[in-house]
């Protein structure tokens, strides 16, 4: 294991901002794994730290390929982790909206540029990222449809789902998108948990990466099971919205199989407590996402369903 400093930004009074990478195996730039870009991505930071520990163990035992290389970057934004701010604290910009960066630009553009120059020539890029909606969701690998994507390789993670996303304008400045544009096969790994560490879910993400590395022959361990991933397009998800605002109760969980018309939740009057709305499933399928904020606005997406008329045959 080799710890290298990838970037440094000096500060007026704080210790300088340093981005560290941990290198394993050979000198080829094969796989780069990135954790927290936002200051609240503690789960993502934790997953990287565990991978550093495990790969160090494997390297000491001679079970890592000596030509191809792996680099793990636990965080590119330690400043925001330390101040517990989601974005860059001084101007509230998101470094994951600044790629590929600009060396003569504003502070977060410079950080993105300084970092990206060190990682834009890997064959594979993996980013542990947090979900854009507050709530709970099913673990998945997400790939942007840039025209350069490789869906089949994503199966090597063995995660339950591979989600294909048509990039929106604001996606084009993310690490994932820019990686693909520069010729890196990029995958974003989503596991539930952001501000809090959920060990069981973190293990799903860690094991998925180990499976991928083993399938690629970068680490020499026997592969454990994993899922036969199902590929879905993001626009196939059926969104369930509230009609009323109030206190939300959902009686479904991610992965649950539901039938069309089934009551999956209710909204109570905030002050008077009685039910003002029953939330019904518009189709049969499996719950992919559900919100978790108990005070809900009207017309808010609270559940997303993977449509599947045959879900009911599978027992849970």
């Amino acid at each position: 294991m080799k710890k290298v400093q990838l970037y440094e930004l000096k500060s007026l009074y704080r210790d300088s901002l340093k981005i560290y990478g941990y290198q394993f195996g050979g000198s080829e730039k094969t796989v780069c794994i990135v954790g927290a870009i936002r200051g609240n991505e503690v789960q993502q930071l934790y997953m990287c730290s565990q991978l550093v520990r495990i790969l160090n163990l494997l390297e000491n035992r001679g079970q890592i390929d000596t030509n191809r290389g792996i680099m793990i970057v636990p965080s590119i934004n330690p400043y925001s982790l330390n101040t517990n701010t989601r974005f860059w604290a001084t101007d509230n910009t998101d470094i994951n909206r600044m790629f590929p960066g600009y060396d003569l630009g504003e502070t977060t553009q410079r950080i993105a540029d300084g970092f990206f120059k060190k990682v834009n020539d890997y064959i594979y890029g993996i980013h542990f990222t947090s979900f854009y909606l507050e709530g709970n969701f099913t673990p998945h690998v997400r790939i942007m449809k840039t025209g350069f994507e490789n869906t089949e390789i994503a199966r090597e993670f063995g995660m339950p789902y591979i989600m294909l996303r048509n990039p929106k304008p604001y996606d084009t400045t993310t690490l994932n998108y820019e990686w693909q544009l520069w010729g890196t096969q990029a995958f974003s790994l989503y596991t539930p948990g952001t501000d809090q560490i959920d060990k069981a879910q973190a293990n799903e993400g860690i094991n998925a990466v180990l499976r991928f590395l083993a399938n690629q022959g970068l680490i020499h361990i026997s592969k454990d099971g994993g899922h036969c991933s199902r590929i879905i397009e993001e626009q196939e998800l059926v969104t369930v919205r509230t009609n009323q605002s109030g206190i939300l109760f959902l009686n479904c969980d991610c992965g649950d199989h539901i039938k069309e018309g089934q009551i999956i939740g209710e909204i109570l009057d905030t002050y008077e407590g009685h039910t003002i709305e029953e939330i019904k499933a518009p189709c049969s399928g499996r719950i992919f996402y559900h919100g978790s904020n108990p005070l809900i606005y009207s017309n808010t997406a609270v559940v997303k369903i993977i449509q599947d008329p045959e879900a009911e045959y599978f027992q849970q």
């Binding site: 500060s11 007026l12 553009q109 919205r241 605002s245 905030t270 606005y297 017309n299 808010t300």
Partner: protein, 314 residues
């Protein structure tokens, strides 16, 4: 008369309400022109607040001179203004990225669609923004080059100092202004002053210009000023000054002054070591139209923008 443009229930005993003031002549003929003054999309930009007030003060002094409709929307994002938040609190999103909205969408999208429906059809709309807390801007209109033919003539009447015509690369499709401009309602986006503050002098100049527009549209019959002749630019002529070091920025020139290549703009000092870390010089002849207001800077922080040109301003 004060009207409700949009309302949506929040979970706990409150509605999200967008209100407007409508001023109009006592007897309507039915063919009156309409100008809409919009501000407060960003909750921490307050320069437009005084503009909304001042327009009404002037009209109310001589209501008999009003021959058209003036709609004033001082707060499109009332929760943001109340909580000193740029975006819509809770939604964690910039309200100026959700237009034209969706009447079937989330609350924010629903509100946005009601606002668009209400403003649509105005003969002119002025959307007033301020800068952020970091930078001070001279009163300027920012125009997408795709709309330049339609909007530059309007902007020239608005009594502002500077018209910044942006390249299409910076198009932001989901903005309030772009959504309306693309359906034929002309919107001028004004940026001026500094965030979280009111610069009365700039506000009064802008109100003078709004009355010029109103006279031109036949909405106002009173006397007006001769509008300033603005400087018009394209993206290519704007030079950016960024900090090379972290420190405290102390400007050594006034905002909105002519500078020559090599002129000193300011310095970045280090209070711990008691030294100058960096001196900032202009790399062209031109006019300093943006100047950093907030002293603490990181490496890369924007310190100023200079419009390159050879003539000097008075």
């Amino acid at each position: 008369m004060i009207q409700t443009v949009a309302a949506a229930p929040l979970p706990a005993a409150e509605n999200y309400i967008v209100k407007k003031q409508r001023l109009q002549p006592e007897n309507l003929l039915g063919n009156e022109k309409r100008i809409s003054i919009v501000t407060g999309i960003h909750g921490d930009e307050l320069e437009g607040q005084y503009v909304c007030y001042e327009i009404q003060q002037r009209i109310n002094e001589h209501p008999e001179l009003l021959t058209g409709i003036v709609d004033i929307y001082p707060a499109l994002n009332p929760l943001g203004i109340d909580s000193i938040t740029r975006g819509i609190p809770h939604f964690d999103l910039d309200m100026n990225r959700i237009f034209p909205g969706n009447s079937e969408g989330s609350m924010a999208e629903y509100i946005a669609s009601k606002i668009i429906n209400d403003v649509q059809g105005s003969d002119l709309c002025v959307d007033i923004h301020a800068s952020n807390i970091f930078l001070r801007e001279i009163p300027q209109v920012r125009i997408n080059e795709m709309c330049a033919d339609t909007l530059v003539p309007f902007a020239k009447r608005l009594n502002i100092d500077y018209i910044w015509v942006h390249g299409t690369a910076t198009v932001l499709e989901a903005t309030f202004a772009h959504s309306l401009n693309s359906i034929g309602t002309p919107v001028l986006v004004v940026e001026m002053g500094v965030g979280m503050r009111v610069t009365r002098e700039y506000c009064k100049e802008l109100v003078d210009g709004i009355f010029v527009e109103m006279k031109d549209l036949g909405i106002w019959q009173g006397s007006i000023i001769e509008p300033k002749k603005p400087i018009i630019s394209t993206d290519g002529e704007v030079h950016y000054l960024n900090a090379g070091y972290a420190g405290v920025f102390i400007p050594t020139v006034e905002h909105w002054t002519s500078v020559k290549k090599g002129d000193k703009i300011g310095e970045i000092i280090d209070p711990l070591e008691g030294i100058i870390k960096e001196e900032i010089f202009s790399d062209c002849d031109g006019i300093l139209f943006t100047l950093r207001e907030y002293p603490v800077v990181s490496e890369g922080s924007l310190l100023g923008r200079i419009l390159e040109r050879n003539e000097v301003i008075a």
